[in-house]
């Protein structure tokens, strides 16, 4: 059905404002999203870190990219949950029976996901700085890092939209995020892939987290990023497009 597109930006700002209020009224969701990755960071830096040979002087520097991705992995579970609640409570139906630009109902959630995950990432960077993280990257490198993180968040957000719209229970809405949170473990996020058995190593080196982590790590340490950045972007774009198509198909059905 057609939408009233002339009000797109006006409606979008209402939807975004609403869902950001949800974030700021439940700061616990941001804390929950940050607490596990921060605990992992402490554990790896102070417990396992001493025994891990990464070839870098500062293990926090090595670890940070993977920790940020984990935080986003748990952050998007809440996106799925909020969408599920809107669907279940009939809020979508109310909006859809009104003369608004319909697509803003979804895009409001997507934009909120980008902003709230951005906040989580900033919190984690601050904690990492306290633990001794130091970066020689310049403005351009930092902007590139945030760009990669943004596209990665967008890709996972559209997966979260599918999960939220397809779920039958609130728990089910967030469950998809567990494998995503786990993916960094089988990548170069915590340890170099060299010591892994060949099958695991093949998986680790060819799954999306590794090139993303490598690209971010090299940008932050001001080293050349090589092809990793293109592989990383290709993965993120491909996931975004495929997830978007399936998400929109589901959205039209409800």
């Amino acid at each position: 059905m057609e939408s009233t597109n002339k009000y797109f930006f006006k409606d979008m700002s209402v939807m975004f404002g609403r869902s950001m209020r949800h974030i700021f009224r439940s700061m616990d969701t941001i804390i929950t999203v940050c607490i596990t990755p921060i605990a992992m960071m402490l554990l790896f830096v102070y417990v396992f870190g001493g025994a891990i040979e990464t070839g870098t002087e500062n293990y926090v520097n090595y670890l940070l990219p993977g920790i940020m991705l984990m935080a986003i992995g748990s952050g998007i579970a809440y996106v799925a949950y909020r969408l599920f609640i809107d669907k279940e409570r009939g809020i979508f139906e109310r909006f859809h029976s009104m003369p608004i630009a319909r697509s803003t109902v979804l895009w409001g959630h997507v934009l909120t996901s980008l902003i709230s995950n951005g906040i989580s990432v900033v919190v984690i960077i601050i904690v990492a700085l306290l633990l001794g993280f130091r970066s020689s990257a310049g403005i351009l490198e930092w902007l590139t890092v945030f760009g990669i993180i943004g596209i990665f968040t967008l890709a996972l957000t559209w997966i979260a939209v599918i999960a939220g719209l397809a779920a039958k229970t609130p728990d089910g809405a967030g469950a998809f995020s567990y494998p995503i949170i786990f993916l960094p473990f089988i990548s170069s996020a915590f340890v170099p892939t060299d010591t892994m058995p060949s099958a695991v190593r093949a998986f680790a080196e060819n799954q999306p987290v590794t090139p993303i982590v490598e690209a971010i790590r090299n940008l932050l340490t001001n080293q050349s990023v090589g092809n990793d950045i293109w592989t990383a972007l290709a993965w993120c774009m491909a996931i975004t497009v495929v997830a978007y198509i399936f998400a929109m198909r589901l959205y039209k059905k409800i």
Binding site: E2, K10, D11, R21, G90, S97
Partner: protein, 253 residues
């Protein structure tokens, strides 16, 4: 004769192989209260969702406020509002914020003023700045209906507005519906309670076996029934009457 603001002809809808509606015809006059009566699962909600542009019918024509649902769903959305079966409110926002949000989405010039007026009209000044999550069922329904009135739509759809409410809250919803109708809004409601249709509706349609089997005023429908026989029976108060008497009702004043 009054103008028909809703005209429905031969609407059919099936989900997969299940026929939910097989040829529904309805005419709703402007103003007044129209009740669609039917048992659970009769297809009342499907009918409402079709009229509210949420789902499409497989066949048949729907014309609301002069707009064809196929050609101008946007104009229909500007003429109507929907209050679904379960209160569709944002529980994390306050009552006032919910009203303001809907006013903004209806693109009104002064959303805050519109919200304030509705809060006053619905006697919710005390609760307006609390989160809706803390409201009772009756209050949620009240703010839900208030949200439907934002922007003064011509037609209001209420899908089982009193299901799950306690008797006190139900009487309050009835009062609101009567006031709406008195102010000229067309109210289309569905209900499974015969008493509700009898109390409120100017016109009643009965949806049964996926079709409208009877339609008319209460008087018309009574004619379909064998003439009343006079019998004397001692009047016992119903439990509802006792309940309402004990908790001391404000219905009187």
């Amino acid at each position: 004769m009054k103008k028909n603001i809703i005209k429905i002809n031969g609407v059919k809808k099936s989900y997969k192989n299940v026929k939910v509606l097989k040829g529904v015809d309805l005419q709703v006059e402007q103003g007044g209260i129209f009740a669609l009566l039917g048992s659970n699962g009769a297809g009342k909600t499907t009918m409402i969702k079709i009229m509210a542009t949420l789902i499409k019918s497989d066949e048949g024509s729907v014309v609301i406020n002069g707009f064809d649902i196929e050609k101008n769903p946007g104009d229909i959305r500007s003429s109507i509002s929907l209050t679904g079966q379960f209160a569709a409110i944002d529980e994390i926002l306050t009552g006032r914020e919910n009203l303001q949000m809907i006013a903004k989405l209806r693109h009104l010039k002064n959303p805050n003023q519109v919200a304030d007026e509705l809060i006053k009209r619905f006697g919710m000044s005390e609760a307006a700045d609390r989160r809706v999550g803390t409201y009772s069922g009756g209050m949620k329904r009240r703010i839900d209906i208030a949200m439907s009135l934002v922007g003064k739509p011509k037609i209001i759809f209420l899908d089982e507005p009193t299901t799950g409410l306690d008797p006190e809250a139900r009487l309050e919803v009835w009062k609101i519906i009567k006031e709406l109708s008195a102010a000229g809004t067309t109210v289309f409601l569905t209900t499974q309670y015969l008493e509700e249709a009898e109390q409120l509706a100017d016109k009643i349609a009965i949806l049964h076996g996926r079709k409208i089997i009877a339609q008319g005023t209460l008087g018309d429908l009574k004619k379909l029934f064998p003439p009343a026989k006079v019998e004397y029976v001692e009047k016992q108060p119903t439990l509802e009457e006792i309940f309402l008497a004990i908790i001391g009702k404000k219905e009187e004043n």
